[in-house]
């Protein structure tokens, strides 16, 4: 059931996160049931000097960082593709690619097409508050034959949430290719971090307001198991950035795969591993 403007105003200013959370959980269960997806990701630096290490458990290999040049970006993509063992290769922030295209004096579309030809499958993220032209740039991703892994929020700590989520909804109405929206900011102010109430409310409102994007996503490694797990009970249905390094130094029960599945089940939900292409992994 759509949220009216009056309800929206009340929700945005409410401290009753239990009520907001229950409503968002209802909306999430209507759409996804108890199904909760997660993806194990191996990050690879965009820096050419860094080693390319891809753990066998990686279902997505993500090139992170700002590429210094188009040539360096393409070389890096090729190296990562050859090491990825068939896992989806994603990479870069679309905002960085806008700037790179401008610096290289090529169109964004041409840059993206070259990246696709080099083996990139998805652009890792599109930070809505950093993009110069969100509609056009996301369309270029699509036209170039790439997909967008997630729409993100770079900072926007004190933004008007209602306005932000209306903007996201309008963007999706236009581009219609966004699979996942991660509403928690990627850049955290260490001296004044967001609070638990802030995060829960942001997740829940995203679920209630952004009804045309299938998945509301939380970054497991950035936000930590406790907050990410709570987020699953207030509207989130997908966990990004689970470590692909199956480090068993703490014992099998604390390996990332066991931890994530245990946390999802402890939230009363059903874990489903997916790959970087958003396809469930058959077991």
């Amino acid at each position: 059931m759509p949220v009216t403007d009056a309800e929206l105003a009340a929700l945005v200013h409410s401290h009753d996160i239990i009520d907001i959370g229950i409503r968002a959980d209802d909306a999430r269960r209507r759409r996804h049931g108890a199904r909760t997806t997660f993806v194990r990701v191996a990050d690879v630096p965009s820096d050419l000097a860094a080693d390319v290490r891809v753990p066998p458990a990686a279902r997505e290999v993500r090139i992170v960082g700002t590429p210094p040049s188009k040539a360096a970006a393409l070389e890096r993509i090729r190296a990562v593709v050859s090491a990825a063992g068939g896992a989806a290769v994603t990479g870069f922030s679309l905002a960085d690619l806008e700037q790179l295209a401008a610096r290289e004096q090529v169109t964004l579309r041409a840059l993206l097409e070259d990246m696709r030809a080099a083996g990139l499958e998805l652009v890792a993220e599109a930070p809505i508050d950093r993009l110069q032209n969100p509609r056009r740039s996301i369309e270029q991703v699509n036209i170039a034959g790439l997909a967008l892994a997630r729409l993100t929020v770079h900072r926007l700590e004190s933004a008007d949430l209602a306005a932000l989520f209306h903007e996201v909804t309008a963007l999706q109405e236009w581009v219609a290719v966004i699979r996942a929206f991660a509403p928690l900011p990627r850049t955290i102010n260490r001296s004044v971090p967001t609070t638990g109430f802030d995060d829960v409310k942001r997740i829940a409102l995203a679920r209630l307001l952004v009804t045309n994007i299938p998945s509301i996503q939380v970054d497991w490694s950035l936000y930590g198991p406790k907050l990410a797990q709570v987020a699953l009970t207030v509207g989130a249905d997908d966990l990004d950035a689970v470590s692909a390094v199956d480090d068993l130094s703490e014992g099998r029960r604390r390996a990332p795969l066991e931890e994530i599945q245990r946390n999802i089940r402890a939230a009363g939900l059903d874990p489903v591993e997916r790959d970087g292409r958003f396809e469930p992994i058959a077991r």
Partner: protein
């Protein structure tokens, strides 16, 4: 009975029995559990005030003979990493605590066979002589039992002597799960059985002290045993009314002999909410931000907690097991207010002392918790030479070199 009917009982203010509580814990959606707990909190604390205390957790020794398998803090007698704080070190910590507006220390430590009852009495007297209004919230029930065994005096007599020396209140540590099956598996039955823990609290309440109660969950206990713990606390509170607050936290597994994994954040919120609903005769429930982090700590205020616990300044025990969260007064107040509550400072009795100190005067920011001693600091305090040691290594250390 189905969840809806049990929810109606909670809303009507009726007491839940074990069966009702178990159904609720296992079957109610997390949102509903939170909603019910929040309603109970609001009935008890309608003014939307959330309190906190400025104090310091000081662990006077890490030497311990108990050897609980869930503890990463203790060192065996004779360990080169064992320490005992000197009186002067403690005074320094109290000075630092007072400087940031603190009103008490929470003093707990290992069961060190080389610290006789007289050492505690002298320490408490020295603190009270120097800081007459400063409060000593000290010695959890297992420590009192340890002193009783060491001094061969009954618990009431030990408590009387400690009270005479300056003890103000007793912290609820060492409760873990008050079920002997669990305590045996955790190797903590020897330090105090469930009955012994409860009886120390009973004696403390009879002696006029107020105490807190705790529960460390997430080791080997069943849901039924968590509930049994809560019901035993509720029964003692019916009898004495001496508990001021209840604090629950999850077992922290890092570097412990028991190992395993930590209970999840949702499990914490559900357990907290259940505690608020079941412990209908406890006024105050604290959020355990020190084990759950600031975010889930703040969310606790929506799941039944009405208190953000302690600014703490120093913490050693859960840090040893992997938790290293820190919130100073500024951060605690920001979290309380961001959740829509009014932040007030309190003492151990939950009397409101006033508004945040940092709004009245400049207080240095504290971005990480202090530790009992810098790493590797194991020097022997001079005053220890005045007390007899029971262990061989303790006696050896106390021989004054020529």
């Amino acid at each position: 009975m189905i969840v809806q009917e049990i929810s109606a009982k909670v809303r009507a203010g009726e007491r839940l029995d074990a069966g009702d509580a178990l159904v609720l814990y296992r079957s109610a959606p997390t949102g509903l559990l939170g909603r019910l707990a929040d309603e109970v909190r609001a009935r008890k604390h309608p003014g939307r005030v959330v309190t906190y205390i400025i104090d310091r957790n000081v662990n006077y020794t890490n030497v311990c003979v108990a050897q609980c398998n869930f503890c990463a803090f203790y060192r065996l007698v004779g360990s080169p990493e064992g320490y005992v704080l000197g009186f002067d070190e403690l005074f320094e910590k109290i000075d630092e605590t007072i400087a940031v507006g603190g009103v008490q220390v929470l003093l707990q430590g290992g069961h060190n066979p080389d610290l006789p009852l007289a050492w505690y009495e002298d320490l408490f007297r020295a603190v009270k002589a120097r800081y007459p209004s400063f409060k000593l919230h000290a010695l959890s029930p297992p420590e009192v039992i340890h002193l009783s065994r060491l001094s061969q005096l009954p618990v009431p007599q030990v408590l009387d002597r400690l009270i005479a020396a300056g003890l103000d209140s007793v912290p609820g540590g060492g409760a873990e799960i008050l079920v002997d099956r669990v305590r045996r598996l955790l190797h903590c039955y020897g330090k105090a059985s469930a009955d012994e823990w409860l009886d120390v609290m009973r004696q403390a309440h009879r002696a006029g002290l107020r105490t807190t109660a705790t529960m460390m969950y997430g080791t080997v206990e069943t849901d039924e045993e968590r509930l049994e713990h809560l019901l035993r606390l509720r029964a003692l509170q019916d009898e004495t009314g001496g508990f001021t607050a209840f604090i629950t936290w999850s077992y922290q597994p890092d570097h412990t002999e028991l190992a395993g994994s930590e209970a999840t954040g949702v499990d914490y919120l559900r357990t907290l909410a259940l505690s608020r609903i079941v412990l209908d005769n406890f006024d105050n429930l604290q959020a355990s931000w020190v084990t759950q982090g600031g975010k889930v700590g703040q969310l606790s205020l929506a799941y039944g907690a009405n208190d953000m616990g302690s600014v703490m300044i120093e913490e050693n025990v859960v840090r040893a097991a992997g938790a290293s969260y820190c919130m100073d007064e500024v951060e605690i107040v920001r979290n309380i207010e961001d959740a829509g509550f009014c932040a007030k400072r309190r003492n151990m009795h939950y009397d409101v002392l006033g508004d945040p100190v940092f709004r009245e005067r400049d207080v240095p920011r504290m971005l990480e918790l202090a530790v009992a001693r810098d790493e590797g600091g194991t020097s022997l305090p001079q005053e220890l030479l005045n007390y007899p040691a029971r262990s061989r290594s303790g006696r050896r250390l106390r021989v004054i070199p020529n």
